[in-house]
């Protein structure tokens, strides 16, 4: 998708705008599925396994779409059936907003506060869906998800304030994405904490407390099956696009433009060929898997998605190197350490703003 637009500040032509609108929703879903494949693949490589083929997440969702839907007798059917749709639609809307900011430098529908509030929608949908399924396991999952939201919302707001100080009180996503607060001490601290908040929003280890397969049996998703579970998986896949994009917009200075010109284009094509060839020819060789993955990442970087890949890799590394926290530990972590760090960051940023020292 990155290849569609040519760098920063240029106006899109009408045909490009139309193309953008046609491609953006399928594009986010495809990108989300690829991202969730990367997550699974890298996790597998870390754990010294082979991991799934590229199409596996798509196969999973398609398979689920064809299965029958089980609805618990005591469930509130309307909420139970609508919740995954609301979550998916909400997160797609958020992704479209962020895509239009990143790729087209155009703000659309809402500002940064709206984006922060839209990010609550998937969690809220999960909570309502789990609560409506009338299962005790799901109820416990609901409580945990809500507490997790409470937990990370405080550091997230504080990190947002650091960004506000650094960017001079701009609220439009467009103008925020023109600056990169991460190149300062306070911005870096805020970015790291926000990354952990995103980890929790995604429900990745160490914050997979609401699903907690080994103790709650998928908790909040316990009663979901068939197409509805497929929608949840899809929502999760799109969140893998939306939330890193949000971090890119807020902290990393947005989309930098792509290098797909001349030699870049040739390198990208070669890399893509290696990638596809590796997938097709290598069978189940781990070396070719790694090579294919690296070439894919290389293409992403050349297409201007390097920052996105960076955040994704960080998320995966945190995911694979930590055990699950208990909910009270998670809340103490967010309300304790993270909050203290961010208070320090806010003070540093304010000092930096007052004395005009940009690296603080």
């Amino acid at each position: 998708m990155g290849a569609v637009f040519e760098g920063k500040g240029k106006e899109m032509s009408t045909s490009m705008t139309i193309l953008f609108w046609i491609l953006v929703v399928p594009g986010t879903i495809v990108l989300g599925l690829i991202a969730s494949w990367i997550v699974r693949k890298v996790s597998a490589l870390v754990q010294w396994r082979l991991g799934p083929p590229l199409m596996q997440p798509a196969y999973d969702v398609l398979k689920l779409m064809g299965k029958e839907i089980l609805v618990p007798q005591e469930a509130n059917r309307t909420v139970f059936l609508l919740a995954p749709l609301v979550g998916l639609v909400g997160v797609i809307l958020l992704t479209v907003i962020l895509c239009s900011v990143l790729l087209a430098q155009k703000t659309f529908v809402g500002d940064v506060i709206v984006a922060i509030y839209l990010m609550v929608l998937p969690s809220l949908a999960l909570i309502l869906g789990g609560s409506a399924s009338a299962s005790p396991h799901a109820s416990i999952g609901t409580a945990r998800e809500m507490k997790l939201v409470m937990g990370y919302e405080l550091p997230l707001v504080l990190a947002f304030i650091v960004v506000l100080i650094k960017t001079g009180g701009q609220l439009s996503l467009d103008s925020i994405s023109q600056q990169a607060p991460v190149f300062s001490i306070s911005g870096m601290l805020a970015f790291l904490v926000a990354l952990l908040c995103v980890q929790a929003k995604l429900g990745f280890v160490p914050f997979d407390i609401a699903e907690a397969e080994t103790e709650l049996g998928s908790g909040i998703l316990m009663e979901y099956s068939g197409a509805l579970l497929g929608l949840w998986k899809l929502m999760h896949a799109v969140m893998l696009v939306a939330l890193p994009f949000f971090l890119v917009t807020l902290f990393l200075g947005g989309y930098t433009g792509n290098y797909l010109s001349g030699t870049g284009l040739i390198v990208a094509i070669v890399l893509l060929l290696i990638f596809v060839g590796g997938r097709l020819l290598a069978g189940r060789s781990k070396f070719m898997d790694v090579l294919a993955l690296l070439s894919f990442i290389g293409v992403c970087i050349l297409a201007g998605l390097g920052k996105y890949v960076l955040i994704l890799v960080l998320l995966i590394l945190i995911k694979n190197t930590n055990p699950r926290l208990r909910i009270d530990q998670a809340m103490k972590f967010f309300w304790g350490y993270c909050t203290i760090i961010l208070f320090a960051a806010i003070i540093l940023a304010s000092l930096g703003c007052y004395y005009e020292i940009s690296w603080l």
Partner: protein, 633 residues
Amino acid sequence: MEKSILCIPVFLPLIIGFVMLLLPNRLSSLFRVLTLIISVITFVLGIIIFTSGGTNVTWSIVQLGEIKLELLLTATPLGNFMLLFAMGFGLLITLYSLKSRSLGDDRDNANIYYGATLLTIGGSAGILLSNHLLALLIFWEIVTVSLYLLISTGKDNSNFAATKSFAMIGASDAAFMLGVFLVWVCSNENIAERTLVISSISLPTDSVLPVIAFLLLLLAAITKAGAMPLHTWVPTSGEYAPASVMALLPAAIDKLLGIYLLLIIVKKIFIIETAATLNLLLAIIGAATIIIAVMIAMVQHNLKKLLSYHAVSQVGYMILGIATGTPIGIAGGIFHLVNNAIYKSCLFLCGGAVEQQTGTADLEELGGLGKKMPWTFATCLIAALSISGIPPFNGFVSKWMIYQGVIDMASGQAGTIAGLWPVWLVAAMFGSALTLASFVKLIHSMFLSRLPSGLKNTREVSALQIIPMAILAALCVIFGIFYSQVPLQKLINPLLPSLVGENAEYKLSLWNAGLATVLIAAGIGIGVLIWLIGRLSDKIRIVPTWTCGEIQENDKMIVPGTHFYKTVSSMDGLKQLYTGQSKGYFDIYDQGGRLAMALTGFLRWLHSGMLPMYLTWLTLGLLIVLFVVCGIL
């Protein structure tokens, strides 16, 4: 005719309501019809006054020395706006009460209930229209008394709650009275030219006396609105008063009146732009109210008490918005006031409906009612999402405006209050997340989760009760989606110039609620369509809840939401605060009671009844007097 338009909504309900109080309880159907007719009339007049703009009525009543008591009724933009909503809520809640209070027995107290409702309507119309502080004070007292009467129509312990409310608001009314007197003293150096006409007072707050007057009036305003630390009457009455009373007064009209008074003193009577400390005080009250009240609300077990603490918490947003002093913050504060009245009334009505049908307001005994009471559930869900600030509902828009007000203030002003903007922003935004948390708990425990066996035969309330709830929920949606076209442009922007002067223009950041809603609705619509097509192949099956093979009774499988936030309430540091709060250590009323008991205990100890003791005191006193007199001479 022109003049009577202002007098009718004030005096018609007052007179009829007063007569009603004296009539016997038997005539309850007459009371109902009469109240309904009068509330319709006042609402229609409210619309007419709002659309036609200002007129004046002057009646000279008495003159005591230099203080003239004149009844000055003036339709101001702010008053008209609030009047429209106050009368609207009067009508909706009367409609709801027609069914919810037709118990038919002697404890019904129909004369008191409907009489006091009319007194409330008339009194609040009087407050919003009068342009004379003394008249305003009198109407203010009428509303206080009718609140006392209304709360006392509740169940068993309602007298205790009514007394507490009356004591706290009454004390603040005393402060109000003193404040009014000080305003009169400060208004002019020349006694003959002193005045209490609101539109002709403008006091700078640079000396001690006006500041004291300001603080006294502020005390009255925040007590009525229910802000910290004088909020404790709201949750206590929430526990015992009928839900319709809570929906009418603490949720809607008391907020309108309290914030109306606050706006008047901040923007009209006093000039506080120069006094940064007073503005800072307002912001601190606002931010503290938001966070503390919502933290307490989270751990409540009683449905109405939980809602009451939120009624307190939301006031914080309004006060914070007004404290920012920016046009967008003030507009956001006023918008939030209206929004809060709408969704909080709706929530109380829903809570009342559930309590009426199930006989309990304890969250632990409820659950799964969404299937039995679908309309109540739908309206309650919309109102709950609105209060939690979920886009695209109305609560989000006003909170969003208040956030922008805070951020604008940071860039536009200097001083402590502007420098501390991160504190205000964190309080407001994090408070919103905590609000969501406690409403998730409420919705889970009332409507989702599992249905307890005892509530199997619960039925939906009657249409007469659903209509007001549905209207309020619809307003939540309309005010959220068309926020710019309907409430802001038609209602709030026109009254800004009278509050912030010429620079009433403000620029909103981007939130295209209409487009977002269309996109969300279209997405959900397409999804439902796909699902319906998939359903043709009949791939849906109803199964019992998966219990991992265990066989368990229904009631044992209910996980009530009341224990959701034990993790929070048992955190170190917070735990002690929660324990102290539940014991009433932070309740000014309770602490006042303890102080008074200690004082009377001391006096009782002095009055031992022994003659030698009294003689000793007498001699000691005489000696002291002698020394003092000698010393002076």
